[in-house]
Assembly symmetry: C2
Homo-oligomer: 206 residues x 2
């Protein structure tokens, strides 16, 4: 029996290279949930095969900035000269329909979500060790050692921001991590703050 | 990876007749946990086959009251002329060893636990409807209709206390309810308040 009929906004965040995307993929392959992924908006151009409205909403810089000004972005960040962000409207629509919306975003964006939607569930996906994070970034092979060292320093600062989150899930194995996220989603639906009002109404108590 | 090495104190409570004991039994039969059940203390005499230290610690009224005075009871209540309660020492020992301690107690006792151990996880086991609770009490066949009506009134008052709990789990089916309790336990171990300190220490951050 589901006492909370509103969907949850679930934010997966954490340092770059920690494997947020892999955890999210594993989560969507699991059973027993009604999750939707929120499509982001970006000003970078589409890569071959990418479809507007599927991988991203591809918009111009002017359009993105208008969305920011009009308060239509739940969160956004600028990265290597391009904007990336989450349009608010789609998220609200899914939540109202009782679907869980999963965002996979940077730490900076997660703070904006916390401010705008205090009911969101913020999960910090954490590396099992700094050494493991270093190796993951090294294996990617896309960056110099100097850049990787900078990323590790940034990761340390971000780990110090984890107190603003609700949960810490260590990505030791992807299955463990996804499984824990699912337990968190189930558990959050049973919290008193999300259920008590509906429950008392259902029972006709008070 | 378990970031929180302390055990959780999990309190299953809720109105009389809601099926707390059945949920607890189902929970203990499930896999993937390290739960222990805390043995209660009582002044009522042992029934045939009941063993001191297994079903209950059977003590005299004087001994029980001395335990109360010495602050050795985590919670207690008087019921039909007898004391029932949870000795603190055993609970603390299990928690320190990293085991989850499950208490199945009355609403009155749960409030005492909240006051003494704020880190406890309080789960309100709730009936799917007042009608369902009525039928359960009727099927038991141990009480008059008048008594059952009194219990329903008491249940209503207790449901109004549920805001002091952390979670509400509706006992629609025992399997569902036990499964949700297990998700809550897993999820609670990942909360920032229980993990962040250890995690930062593990990583040598800060």
């Amino acid at each position: 029996m589901k006492l909370n009929d509103k969907g949850l906004l679930v934010v997966l965040s954490g340092p770059s290279g920690v494997g947020k995307g892999t955890v999210r993929s594993a989560l969507f392959k699991m059973e027993g949930h009604d999750l939707v992924y929120s499509v982001s908006m970006t000003t970078r151009g589409p890569r071959v095969g990418e479809i507007h409205g599927k991988e991203y909403y591809f918009v111009t810089r002017e359009e993105f900035e208008r969305n920011i000004r009009d308060g239509k972005m739940l969160e956004y960040a600028e990265f290597v000269g391009n904007y990336y962000g989450t349009p608010l409207a789609g998220v609200q629509e899914h939540l109202a329909a009782g679907r869980e919306v999963v965002l996979e975003i940077e730490v900076q964006g997660a703070e904006q979500v916390r401010a705008k939607m205090p009911d969101a569930v913020l999960i910090f996906i954490a590396p099992p060790s700094l050494d493991a994070l270093y190796k993951r970034l090294l294996i990617r092979g896309t960056e110099s050692e100097e850049h990787i060292r900078q990323r590790i320093e940034k990761a340390k600062r971000e780990i110090n921001m984890a107190y603003e989150y609700d949960y810490i899930v260590v990505n030791d194995t992807v299955e463990n991590a996804a499984d824990k996220v699912l337990a968190i989603i189930r558990s959050e639906h049973a919290t008193v703050k999300r259920t008590l009002k509906n429950y008392k109404k259902m029972l006709g108590v008070e």
